[in-house]
Amino acid sequence: MSASRSHAALSEADAIRLAQQGDAAAFEFLYQLHSRRVYALCLRMLGNPADAEDLAQDAFLQLFRKIGTFRGESAFSTWLHRMTVNVVLMRLRKKSLPVASLEETTEPDEETGGPRKDIGGPDLRLSGAVDRVNLERSVEKLPPGYRTVFVLHDIQGYEHNEIAGILGCSVGNSKSQLHKARTRLRELLQEELRDQARQARRDEQAAKSQSARDD
């Protein structure tokens, strides 16, 4: 669009300053700069494009309404992602889905006082078997707290200190959430593999029975 063309040489800081004065092209520049990441985050968190679109719009609306108050204490993208995560989590709460709090998900094991132990788990190796579809399906099943950190770190590539800034938690909490997310994902993926193996056996048996009947 012409707005992004006209401001192609702008820095983000210049665009923010112009947007604070109500400059339409600056708003579009900022939107074009960040919308893919924000939309991807909403999409991964909510699992459907209609909700993702709705919430990406909410996040940008909130951001642009408040852009006059942005003083640059944190990175603009951190500010935007914080708003995005907040609108997403609020939507999930409204839908009454369980949202694990940071405290809740970082509690130590009740029995041992140490980290929850399911090391190794069932001996079903995933290596080489994690395909995109299985992973996406399993990510959608994660509790929102785990999902947020996993998406931000492992998919979007943010560092723990950035995630801590976005979520308003400690770096330790972010690391702990990620670890628990991966642990839960591993279980979900193992279940997925078991289901697929069971289905394959059922299909095989059905094929054999059919073949026996045909003979």
Binding site: F27, E53, A56, I119, G120
Partner: protein
């Protein structure tokens, strides 16, 4: 190092590089070796998922309209007067010229929005509201009127071409919404989207007719 300590090390320091002690433990512990291999496979598969996804084009169109309506975007500071958005905004400023037909369409769209009544528990699924059918039909009539006007005035400015493109985007969105409402008449979100899209279209048609009629 014990298994619990390895898990803590992975949590705090990441999957790699592992300390000497951690590597030694993993080498002699099958469950921890599996855990590390699985975590690495998960992280590596996640890395291959796209970190960025392009949102639909209509998202910015809708966002921009909202920001303009709220006065967050102030037109006088916009740099390019030839931008089609500026043309569109100019059209909105002169909305007084909008036709009676547009008024009727807006009324129908609002009526449709207001008539949304959530189904009571246990009741049969709601049918697609009549107001929605009426609104769609009226929009179609109005669109025909706009097309006739534009044909007469031979309006072929870049701004008008952009508006036609925009109309196509809105039409596509309406088609998606209509399909969803037909499939799930009780889906409040779909009905809201559809109602909003109808209003967006009626406003766009009003601007097109106004600008086409004035020969801009």
């Amino acid at each position: 190092m014990k298994c619990e300590e390895l898990e803590l090390a992975i949590e705090q320091d990441g999957l790699s590089p592992l300390s000497e002690a951690a590597r030694a433990h993993v080498a002699g512990c099958a469950p921890c070796k599996n855990l590390l291999a699985d975590f690495t496979a998960i992280a590596s598969a996640a890395e291959r998922l796209p970190a960025e996804v392009a949102p639909p084009e209509r998202l910015w169109i809708s966002l921009r309209a909202q920001l303009e309506a709220e006065g967050v975007i102030r037109e006088q500071t916009a740099p390019q007067k030839a931008d089609w958005w500026e043309s569109l905004a100019a059209g909105f400023r002169g909305r007084m010229l909008a036709t009676t037909a547009v008024g009727l369409v807006l009324v129908a769209a609002v009526t449709f929005q207001l008539r949304r009544t959530p189904a009571s528990p246990g009741s049969a699924p709601a049918a697609v509201p009549q107001a929605y059918v009426t609104t769609a039909a009226m929009l179609q009539l109005h669109e025909q009127g706009v097309t006739d006007t534009l044909l007469k005035s031979a309006a072929t400015t870049p701004a008008m071409a952009s508006m036609r493109d925009n109309l196509q985007i809105v039409d596509n969105f309406i088609a998606e919404c209509e399909q969803r409402v037909q499939q799930q008449p009780d889906d409040d979100d779909a009905r809201e989207y559809l109602s909003g899209a109808y209003q967006q279209k009626s406003e766009l048609l009003a601007v097109m007719m106004e600008r086409g009629g004035s020969g801009d």
